[in-house]
Symmetry: C2
């Protein structure tokens, strides 16, 4: 019997293990045109948190007492669909479970890239695409500009750092603690800021970017966004990708430097990677090339077993992961 | 002897009359190429408040113990410059004083439009240009869209309401109190919101815009900005023109709905009217035509006498004016 994690109750503030329940998942019988897949890798991502709330959003909230979903990579174990055979590796959206059966359209075969399959949940998947389109299209970052990225040791942030260096930008990354900051520098960042060290974030940013920043890639919101506002140069562009700091908070975001948006003519733009679905070919071509050249690589934090899913998800909010957080089945 | 208002001390929080001092102003002798002007109308504007602080901004802060400046319209009383004769009406930047003497380049002759001269400090000046470029270029508001504008009974806001109606948009304006809301409706707004009435601003906005807003023209920041974030439709554009609510505050701006910037892909863009200096011809042609057709008009609140300048300036922050606040000499 397949098993899946169900949303037992809606979290208020920080989610807990009690919000989740591992239950048997009855799979539909395999009709013609359908494929059955055994999952190998499951993704946990910050965007899942707002989906657990019953709020107006771009995608329907997770239903209570229903299986959760999310990114996954698996292996076809049974196929009644043309073009799919047992052993094929596929990416799909039936995460949070060990097995899935669905019409073949729901699965995408992974190309024979020689890369580990979980790369398609990371650098070559929506993580990489988010970094790529956010930095280059939303923020329109250009060679020679100074880019500030928060959560730079995280999945999206670490990819932003690497793309920015490939593209000839100066990059400042923030992360929590000396180990993560060392990782950010290893990824190629010109400077790393430890947001957990004493002192004001805006002062630390000014120390490494005395001329200010042209681009801010925001994964966290809050104090980071405020520091970026303080140090923004004229015509700066902010790509707002995530506000992980706000997802579990019931407090409003307090900004002291919002008024600078006028004098510095700052443009703040929220985006979703799905807006760029039509341009994924461009991204996969560039990113595939950079990986082949060794200029970008995906870092990951792995937990094992379906049982670990809620813990892996919760770990996103305590900053325990570097790179992409994944669960291996 | 000419007289001018000097900045005696930098205000902390809300300015007071004590920050200003009316002193004699020695005028330079009139050399060849120079013009002497007696001022008729002086402008007070919210943007002057941040210039009274010693902070990083787009224009140098006002110097202590020096005459203040700002928009003004006057009459040439003496000229040693070609093209200027006594009786000519001119606009210029030597406000906060009764007389000015300077090289002719500092003065712009008003065209023979048949309009009252103070229109060049209002609808046909930077007020009108701010509304025009902010709404049509920065926010890219289009016919059929729903526009929300704060301080809609104020100088810029009342012009935004009128331009939006000329351009076929649906307009919601906010203002403080029933009289101002009545004015906003008279200007053509489809709905007016009294932000001083009991209840949450976001709820009031939702009541009149159940489908959400496409554009927000922000003159005040704070709770208004937060309400606009709550009600923004997908792809909404915010033109940030002013944050009068923040100018005198030492408290941070608290936003509960900033996270919506991602799901709704909101674009928030700060701007200064000076960015559009090269396109003033376009604005003056359109606006001149709309005024001639009776489709836009400038409303104003007038105080009399040079002595009234600081009080007129302070009145901007207590919402005592409707339309453009002016001082007539």
């Amino acid at each position: 019997m397949a098993r899946a994690w169900y949303l037992k109750s809606r979290p208020k503030g920080m989610p807990t293990l009690d919000n989740f329940d591992l239950r048997p998942l009855p799979l539909p019988p395999l009709e013609p045109g359908m494929v059955r897949v055994r999952n190998l890798w499951l993704s946990v991502d910050p965007y899942m948190r707002p989906r657990m709330t019953e709020a107006k959003s771009y995608v329907a909230p997770y239903a209570l007492d229903a299986p959760l979903d999310g990114g996954a990579v698996g292996e076809v174990v049974e196929s009644k669909a043309d073009g799919f055979s047992p052993g094929d590796l596929v990416s799909h959206r039936f995460g949070w479970r060990d097995e899935a059966a669905a019409p073949a359209e729901a699965f995408t075969k992974l190309p024979a890239s020689g890369l580990p399959p979980q790369a398609y949940l990371n650098t070559l998947g929506i993580i990489g695409a988010t970094a790529y389109f956010g930095l280059l299209r939303v923020a329109e970052a250009k060679a020679g500009e100074t880019v500030f990225v928060s959560a730079a040791a995280g999945a999206v942030g670490s990819t932003v750092v690497q793309i920015a260096k490939v593209k000839g930008m100066r990059v400042i990354g923030s992360a929590g603690g000396p180990e993560k900051c060392a990782l950010v520098r290893e990824l190629g960042a010109d400077a790393a800021i430890d947001y957990k060290s004493p002192g004001l974030l805006a002062d630390k940013l000014e120390a490494v970017a005395p001329e200010g920043i042209d681009v801010y890639f925001d994964n966290v919101g809050g104090e980071h966004l405020d520091a970026a506002l303080a140090q923004a140069r004229e015509g700066a562009r902010f790509a707002i990708c995530g506000m992980i700091g706000a997802y579990n908070s019931t407090e409003p975001v307090a900004l002291r430097n919002l008024f600078r948006i006028i004098a510095a003519r700052i443009r703040i733009q929220g985006f979703l990677v799905s807006d760029f679905r039509d341009r994924f070919g461009e991204f996969q071509r560039d990113m595939g090339q950079w990986i082949a050249q060794g200029r970008t690589s995906g870092s990951e934090t792995v937990m094992d077993g379906l049982e670990a899913m809620p813990a892996a998800f919760l770990a996103l909010f305590s900053g325990r992961n570097t790179g992409k957080m994944l669960v291996r089945l």
